[in-house]
């Protein structure tokens, strides 16, 4: 997200789900859409199968859309930049780039051009393992298309150089002028129902609501006037830094709302040590999850069906959530709990309803200024929506890039932090599956989800398993430099040789015990997609 903010001026999805069908070519990279965004996956499947759209799918695993794609690039994990630079090299060589768009709308093209010179298809083949001819064809498909859309997800961002990956995708889009038109743009698919909303609302250490920087004096004054209190100006800690701060004692208290870091965060041994050192750990959730084991106080909160409010989905659409039933026992709305704690600490926060809060938040968040509950009655509105009669913005950067000029950033390919070696010969990717959701606290209580995927599993290539004498369904031990777990093997040709895949939904086998501590320098996303592991038959 930080990548898009740097190059285009806004970190969110540029286009919307509704206009993807107007694209001729769809470049799908690092997103197993049919499993993680199933309804969008269905649409892409329809586009590919019935409406003859051309698909370029780049993913280490042969995901379902790969079979329907016109071109499937079985890329090695962590080598995305090389692939994209290679494509751009061919586009520049063939002159398919949008010369006039680059002239008016972008800057920094020349330095970027020099860096890309070196990424000939052959050189890229040696890095990514994708045949040169495929790279040529991919570049041809994307370069010559009138309207081409880029769709990506965690496969791109969860690397030590996640931001660079996003920036190089931005370069590719800017190169061909695929911005600000229906069926184009760079479209990150946000993983969770309100992750876009949480970022919009300033759930980040560096920004107030509406991506207004904490360090900006004048903006901080605005919030100080709005909230009637002086505000800190230093950028706070991110999740991973909180772990380190807790370990060396700088961090004493942690208030966790609706999260389960003990399962979803990387490098869990380190995190568990951090949590046990805290003086106060408050967990506010709808279930007694794994993090609650370390907590001093657990507060019951209401789930989505028991509260009024709004969610913002991946296409920046703010939609109403309505209360359907009463919360069980004494569970309360999250904002009620927090406002009660605030009142006890001397800061009066008496909100009568979620609508009242929304009225306040839209006064301080420019993108939400024109949105009201009354307008959201029939259907959602896509921010930015500055005034109450503004219909919302389905497509960003129409006519002009939000940042003024699109920024080309020259990016060199760097290998992932942890390369496989003879001791840890496999590259493990962690991700999500269709039937479960994140830490499984919700989906593991549902009979249909449990029926299909009841227990944790490790996807492995049949030949690799054959060499190690492992049959389908065996329990194997998976070790990395930081920890080990036992998983049931599921042999599938989807995974290439030398690579394995598993999910982090299951508390009985926490995959994140294996994942490493390295993360992206700028936006601090951990390296989930590349971890060196060893698979051993017990």
């Amino acid at each position: 997200m930080a990548g898009l903010a740097a190059t285009l001026g806004s970190g969110a999805m540029t286009n919307s789900l509704g206009d993807i069908e107007e694209a001729e070519v769809i470049f799908l990279v690092g997103s197993n859409t049919t499993e993680n965004h199933p309804v969008l996956g269905m649409k892409l499947r329809r586009l590919a199968r019935y409406e003859g759209k051309k698909f370029i799918v780049a993913d280490p695993r042969k995901i379902e859309l790969a079979e329907l794609a016109t071109l499937y690039l079985p890329i090695r994990p962590g080598t995305d930049i090389a692939l994209i630079n290679g494509m751009m090299h061919v586009i520049l060589r063939e002159g398919w780039h949008d010369q006039e768009f680059i002239q008016e709308q972008t800057e920094g093209f020349e330095e970027f051009r020099k860096v890309v010179e070196k990424y000939t298809p052959e050189y890229v083949e040696s890095i990514t393992g994708v045949p040169a001819s495929d790279i040529e064809q991919a570049a041809k498909l994307y370069g010559t298309a009138q309207r081409a859309s880029i769709i990506y997800c965690m496969g791109i961002t969860q690397h030590t150089k996640g931001t660079d990956n996003v920036k190089s995708l931005a370069n590719l889009a800017l190169l061909c002028g695929n911005i600000g038109k229906p069926g184009t743009g760079i479209n990150p698919l946000r993983g969770q129902n309100n992750v876009q909303g949480a970022c919009d609302m300033g759930g980040l250490p560096a920004t107030f609501p509406g991506y207004q920087a904490v360090t900006n004096e004048e903006l901080r004054k605005k919030f100080e006037r709005a909230w009637g209190v002086s505000l800190p100006s230093n950028v706070g800690l991110t999740v991973v830094e909180m772990g380190d701060a807790a370990v060396d004692g700088r961090l004493k208290a942690l208030y966790v709302m609706g999260e389960n870091p003990v399962l979803s965060d990387p490098n869990l041994h380190h995190l568990e040590e951090a949590l046990s050192k805290l003086e106060l750990l408050v967990v506010q959730d709808i279930f007694f999850n794994d993090t609650c084991k370390y907590a001093h106080v657990v507060l019951p909160s209401a789930c989505f069906a028991e509260k009024d409010g709004t969610f913002t989905n991946t296409e920046r659409r703010v939609q109403r959530v309505r209360k359907a039933l009463d919360p069980p026992g004494d569970a309360k709305d999250d904002w009620w709990i927090i406002s009660e704690v605030a009142r006890r600490m001397g800061y009066e926060m008496n909100y009568g309803s979620a609508e009242e809060i929304f009225e306040e938040l839209r006064t301080v968040t420019p993108q939400y200024a024109g949105i009201t509950y009354q307008r959201l009655e029939k259907q959602g509105i896509q921010w930015p929506c500055p005034t109450e009669d503004h219909p919302g913005t389905p497509i960003l950067h129409v006519g002009k890039i939000a940042r003024g000029k699109g920024l080309f950033t020259p990016i060199e390919y760097r290998p992932a932090a942890e390369q496989p070696d003879e001791e840890y010969s496999f590259v493990m990717m962690t991700g999500r599956s269709y039937y479960h959701y994140h830490t499984g606290t919700m989906t593991r209580k549902c009979v249909v989800c449990n029926y299909f995927v009841p227990e944790p599993y490790l996807e492995m290539n049949p030949e690799d398993a054959g060499e190690l004498g492992i049959e389908d369904g065996n329990i194997v031990k998976v070790l990395s430099r930081r920890g080990e777990i036992e998983l049931k093997v599921k042999l599938t040709p989807r995974v290439k040789r030398g690579e394995v895949f598993s999910t982090f939904h299951f508390s009985e086998a926490r995959v994140n015990l294996l994942t490493g501590a390295s993360f992206d320098p700028i936006c601090k996303i951990p390296e989930f997609k590349v971890t060196a592991v060893r698979v051993v038959k017990p």
């Binding site: 927090i338 269709y434 549902c446």
Partner: protein
């Protein structure tokens, strides 16, 4: 192109079916198997209309308009043909209404009631009442399938093939023994689209033990709590329990489509393991305490840490699963009350 329907002229374009034109100008034509989001199926024959120059009535849902067509959508003979269509279906339909979950929202019931059908039509019908046959295994545990109730409209087959793209269902065998069968069951991703489009009680919801008739339940439109697509769905609630999830076809972004988590993943809401009382760890053991005690404990502890070690010794994890309002209040609490910017959430995971 101009077409006259029931004597009124309409401007139409190439590629529109008669039914599209009729619906655009709210002329009522009864339909059973018509489904907007897939190509015309034309299996039931209920939407027949008379077109001048055609000897036989044609199906409005699958006949494309041509210039100068003169169409009649309602006449005694049409009424008769439509009645015959319904009778043919009703002959094999079991007497399940009292025990069928779909009763009250069943398209077949509405049609029979609308046509005011009497029992005295199909005289050759054998008087033995067909009692309920037990459900047959289906491709997902989330759906119960009663083959005897199926009216063979094939909406499920088309939606699974065209809309979802998995092609699990086929029409098996011919004539009287024809029925829908999940032949390629392992393709099934239990998205429940077939359940959503089934006009009768052949496919019924099988997750919630509690069932409710339309007038006993409240339908609340909300957003799915799972992935980022943000599908809009409707929770059917009866006696403070979620009974079923339905969906409105006209609302973006999902236009009436859901996945397994959206359609069947609602059991956690009424699960017994939900936290009901605040818990406070006293000498190692969690005990249920009142809100007063828990909140006081948190407030005092936070205040003392803030005064001793400073605001930056406290951090907070907001949540991508809570609403914008919750997150706004949370970061306002951390920044205004605690006085630190140590606020983050799992946007990175």
């Amino acid at each position: 192109m101009v077409v006259t329907i029931n004597g009124r002229q309409f401007e139409v374009e190439q590629g529109q079916t008669i039914l599209d034109v009729a619906r655009a100008n709210d002329i009522y034509i009864p339909t059973l198997c018509y489904l907007e989001k897939v190509s015309p199926i034309g299996s039931c024959g209920l939407c027949v209309v008379e077109v001048e120059g055609q000897s036989e009535p044609v199906q409005a849902c699958s006949t494309y308009v041509e210039d100068g067509m003169v169409i009649i959508t309602d006449s005694p003979s049409l009424f008769e043909t439509r009645r015959k269509v319904l009778e043919r279906i009703l002959e094999r339909h079991p007497l399940d209404c009292p025990v069928c979950d779909k009763a009250g929202e069943c398209r077949l019931q509405d049609l029979v009631y609308e046509f005011g059908l009497e029992g005295r039509i199909a005289d050759h019908r054998v008087g033995i009442p067909r009692l309920q046959e037990p459900p047959v295994t289906y491709s997902t545990p989330g759906i119960k399938y009663y083959p005897s109730r199926c009216v063979l409209c094939q909406r499920c087959v088309h939606v699974c093939m065209e809309h979802v793209g998995r092609g699990v269902l086929v029409v098996n065998e011919e004539g009287d023994k024809a029925r829908i069968e999940p032949l390629y069951a392992d393709n099934c991703i239990s998205c429940g689209e077939c359940l959503a489009v089934c006009p009768v009680g052949a496919l019924t919801e099988n997750v919630s033990p509690l069932k409710a008739r339309p007038w006993q339940k409240k339908v609340v439109r909300t957003v799915c709590p799972y992935c980022g697509v943000g599908c809009v769905l409707e929770l059917n609630v009866a006696r403070n329990k979620v009974v079923k999830v339905t969906v409105d076809d006209t609302i973006p972004p999902n236009h009436g489509t859901l996945c397994v988590k959206g359609r069947f993943g609602f059991e956690f809401i009424n699960s017994e393991e939900r936290l009901k009382k605040p818990l406070l760890r006293k000498n190692g053991e969690f005990q249920e305490v009142s809100w007063e005690e828990a909140l006081d404990f948190v407030a005092d502890k936070l205040s003392s840490i803030k005064s001793e070690a400073g605001s930056d010794a406290i951090a907070g994890l907001a949540s991508a699963k809570c609403t914008n309002e919750d997150n706004y209040v949370f970061q306002k609490f951390m920044r205004a009350v605690i006085g630190t910017n140590n606020v983050d959430h799992c946007a990175r995971l």
